[in-house]
């Protein structure tokens, strides 16, 4: 009898502790509240030596309340990780003293999270939104159109970018982008391009930009979308596709193991680290630069002081040692842009996407 009780206790404790975290995630206030409590900072031991980056001059008392970051993806998704990493780094560096938490709003390829952010509580200056290129693409394209654009928010900073690549199996006859694109031009039926995301999204557009740059009709390209980069890689390795379009994440090991050859990268100049020998598209005569950026946004009517606060805070964050370390471990390429530059960058991106979507007849 006693034994039974103790088991019940164990179970009860388990369920309780679980439901605590679960309620957090489900109810909206996220579990990873990185309240900068001393206990939590034990993880980053060398904090004492690392000089805390200079906090921006406090022009006002903002932030007065805890800050919520809306991540328009499920727990564990790309933007969720970006958001959680950001608030942890902001707390670790001591740049933001208020507690910050992440709220997940998955669905609709970011459209649900965006609609929620723009329409609900539009005066709340204590909430932020982290988004990536689908913000622009979803607003432009015909199908699954999202009525909101970046103009319904205040761009605060571009946090970082990663880039797209074109890769083939190591046994493939293609050694450079040119020979591949020539073949595609001659026989679009013969070359199967595989990617981890649907039409009108990063992986797809990566190839389309290249095709467009050399005058190949983008629609003629045989593109097959898989559910995620892993599946697309499987297809390439299993000879169910000839060419892979992908972001750089997770590709490094396949290159090192000699299974895959990367033909080109969409960055403006060569990357560091494991991709340092990969020529850019531009080097090979393709006038294409393509960023998979992550940016931070505030509500549309943010007061100038608050915009200034975040502009400076996020700038200091990008310069901090902590953020550099995060970048190294996550394979992110630092690419900070301040509020003004980011806004201009978004305009440019919009023009670029508009053009390619038009040629694919996917424009609204």
């Amino acid at each position: 009898m006693l034994k039974k009780k103790s088991w019940a206790m164990v179970l009860l404790t388990g369920i309780l502790s679980l439901s605590l975290t679960a309620c957090g995630g489900g109810g909206g206030t996220a579990p990873a509240t990185s309240d900068p409590k001393p206990a939590e900072n034990k993880a980053s031991a060398p904090k004492e030596e690392a000089k805390p980056a200079p906090a921006p001059a406090p022009t006002s008392t903002y932030p007065e309340k805890p800050i919520t970051v809306i991540a328009p993806s499920g727990a564990g998704g790309g933007l969720d990780i970006a958001s959680r990493t950001m608030i942890k780094a902001l707390a670790d560096t001591g740049l933001v003293k208020q507690s910050m938490s992440v709220e997940n709003k998955p669905g609709g390829g970011q459209a649900v999270g965006l609609a929620e952010f723009v329409t609900k509580d539009p005066k709340n200056e204590h909430k932020l939104n982290v988004m990536s290129p689908p913000l622009i693409i979803n607003n432009l394209r015909k199908e699954g159109n999202s009525p909101h654009s970046f103009r319904d928010m205040t761009p605060l900073a571009r946090l970082y970018s990663d880039y797209e690549v074109i890769a083939v199996k190591s046994e493939s006859k293609y050694q450079d982008l040119k020979s591949l694109m020539d073949d595609i031009e001659a026989n679009p039926d013969k070359v199967t391009v595989v990617g981890g995301s649907g039409p009108g999204s990063q992986d797809h557009l990566n190839v389309m930009f290249l095709a467009d740059a050399v005058g190949i009709e983008p629609k003629s390209i045989k593109y097959i979308s898989y559910d995620g980069g892993g599946e697309a890689m499987t297809a390439l390795l299993g000879d169910n596709g000839d060419v892979l379009t992908s972001d750089t994440a997770g590709l490094g090991d396949f290159v090192k193991a000699g299974k895959v050859r990367v033909l080109g990268v969409s960055a403006p100049e060569r990357l560091d680290g494991e991709f340092k020998d990969i020529p850019t598209y531009k080097e090979q005569g393709f006038d294409v630069e393509y960023y998979n950026w992550r940016g931070v946004f505030g509500v549309k009517d943010m007061s100038p002081e608050v915009v200034k606060y975040w502009d400076e805070t996020l700038k200091s964050l990008s310069g901090s040692e902590e953020w550099k370390k995060v970048g190294e471990t996550s394979g992110w390429v630092p690419g900070h842009l301040g509020a003004e530059e980011f806004k201009a960058f978004l305009e440019e991106q919009e023009t670029m996407f508009k053009k390619i979507l038009e040629s694919l007849e996917m424009l609204k």
Binding site: K4, W7, V10, L11, G14, I15, L18, T21, A22, G24, G25, G26, P31, A32, E40, A43, S44, A45, G74, A75, G76, I81, R84, N104, P106, G107, G108, G109, A111, V112, A115, E143, G144, N145, G198, P199, G200, K222, Y223, I224, S225, D227, G228, G230, E231, M233, T234, A235, G238, D239, N240, G241, A249, G250, D253, F254, A257, T329, S330, M362
Partner: protein, 508 residues
């Protein structure tokens, strides 16, 4: 032998006291995650990632990675274990791979054999876990090569076979089963089409872009449908609560389950290796297979212990099999392994072709800890059976609000939209009417789960072949699956057409 050395080394990592502790908490939380509907293994693992990194903060980089991943993997298979509990006791499947368990599990519980059902699923899961572990150690490399060869045509045909099989399984009328399959496939077309990017049946409502959430539909159909049935029919004659006669399965139960467990382990492991629908297909196939080869197929659906043992074994074996593409290729085979992979990457460890060379400590430590975790789960779960089995003894007037609360909470937790609650309610009503008119529900659920995958793979195959349908027959593996699914549908018809005589000899 190198492998053995590595394995021993792995055990020395996994048996360090703090790793034992992590494994224990992992499986404990995992069991709870599995028991609560709504928080599936996927969200369970995702929610624990930040916590695990905080917990292991004091350790060195490599050690922290091993410990965290041991904890998270514990949650994963703990949840696979625990998932059977609600299916059996409350008729509430927490994930697609435990849908089949509800068919006989809930019936057993109603008959007062909840204890036996829970115990056999724990034992079956344990054996499956060990089996897939041995398979993982011995066959990881060759199997990952085979998984690679599985392209869109093969997937398409395999899933078609899955649908054909489940249509043949259910109830008295094959027509009704086929209607349900098609209904499921139709529901699956809602949402943004992955291949062309076209939004279908979404009416510009953003929550519909991702399609109907599987969990909402199945919890509505099964759990709420059952609730409505209990309320409306009052079940006057069944008013007396089924007495729990015994907790431990009888000798006969064990004997009956031995075959299904062995076959379920094998089937589950190999299907689990295939990225995609491994665990779900495995549980459906193994159930159908047991019913086909059983001497008394009419027992199935009415509380046959084989009907619990086989799908539960298969889905756990599949969880083990799914680790193969993850560890050797860096390709996550399911949503949960995708999140596990995220955890690996967070610790700067890239699962993939180089994992075993570059981080042997992590890879083998994880494998050894899976063994430890499985033993812990068995020790943890068998005594819990006694407690859980009491739940079924709760009078309906308390049990029904409990089921409703669990369903609502679980469904809301996944996407946090009220739309899902409306959908849940609607599915409950639909489920009630379908079930009371003898329309089988599992084909609908399988259709919904497999629909997008079947469609995408078919279109991928056709894109690759420039529209030539012969690609499905030119690939030998695909052709075999197609012929098998054709036979599955045609043979019963032929037998029926030939007259009753054949039918009788067949069922004898």
């Amino acid at each position: 032998m190198g492998t053995l050395d590595f394995l021993i080394n792995g055990f020395s990592v996994a048996l360090q006291w703090h790793n034992l502790l992590f494994a224990f908490f992992g499986v404990l939380i995992g069991t709870a995650v599995g028991v609560l509907p709504g928080i599936g293994p996927m969200s369970g693992v995702a929610l624990l990632i930040p916590i695990s990194s905080t917990l292991t903060g004091g350790l060195g980089a490599e050690d922290a990675a091993v410990s965290s991943i041991i904890l998270l993997a514990g949650v994963y298979y703990g949840a696979m274990y625990g998932g059977s509990t609600t299916s059996i006791l409350l008729n509430t499947p927490g994930e697609s791979s435990s849908v089949m368990t509800t068919l006989d599990g809930y019936q057993m519980a109603k008959q007062g054999r909840a204890g036996a059902a829970l115990a056999i699923s724990a034992i079956g899961s344990f054996i499956a876990g060990l089996f897939s572990l041995v398979g993982l150690i011995l066959l990881a490399q060759p199997l990952s090569e085979i998984a690679l060869r599985f392209g869109p045509p093969e997937y398409f045909s395999l899933m078609l076979l899955g649908l054909a099989a489940v249509s043949g399984l259910a109830g008295k009328s094959m027509t009704k089963a086929l209607i349900m399959t098609v209904f499921g496939l139709l529901l699956a077309t809602i949402g943004m089409d992955n291949v062309s990017g076209v939004a279908r049946f979404t009416y510009d409502i953003p929550v519909l872009y991702n399609g109907l959430e599987f969990l909402t539909v199945s919890v509505g159909l099964f759990a709420l449908g059952e609730v409505f049935k209990t309320i409306l029919h009052k079940e006057a004659n069944e008013g007396t609560i089924a007495k729990i006669t015994r907790i431990i399965p009888t000798k006969q139960d064990m004997k009956d389950s031995a075959g299904p467990i062995a076959r379920g382990s094998l089937l589950g492991f190999f299907l689990g290796v295939l990225p995609g629908a491994g665990a779900t297909l495995a549980s459906f196939f193994s159930y159908v297979m047991e019913k086909k080869i059983s001497k008394n197929p009419e027992k199935f659906g009415k509380g046959a212990i084989e009907g619990v043992a086989s799908p539960e074994t298969a889905n756990n074996a599949a969880a083990g099999g799914a680790m193969i593409p993850l560890l050797t290729l860096g390709i996550p085979g399911s949503g949960t392994t995708a999140i596990l992979m995220g955890a690996f990457i967070m610790f700067n460890i890239q699962p993939g072709p180089l994992l075993f060379e570059e981080h042997p400590q992590v890879a083998w430590g994880l494998i050894a800890s899976m063994f430890v975790g499985n033993v812990m789960l068995l020790i943890l779960n068998l005594p819990l059976v006694r407690i859980f089995a009491q739940i079924i003894a709760t009078p309906p007037k308390y049990l029904i609000p409990l089921i409703v609360a669990f369903s609502v909470f679980g469904v809301y937790a996944v996407q946090v939209t009220t739309f899902d609650l409306v959908l849940l309610l609607a599915c409950g009503v639909v489920g009630y009417f379908l079930a009371s008119n003898d329309f089988p529900l599992p084909p609908l659920v399988l259709g919904l789960v497999l629909g997008p995958m079947i469609e995408n793979n078919m279109r991928r195959a056709l894109t690759a072949s420039n529209g030539d349908y012969m690609i499905f027959l030119q690939k030998p593996v695909s052709a075999v699956f197609l012929i098998a699914s054709l036979l599955w549908l045609v043979i019963p018809l032929v037998l029926k057409w030939k007259g009753k005589k054949v039918d009788i000899t067949e069922s004898m």
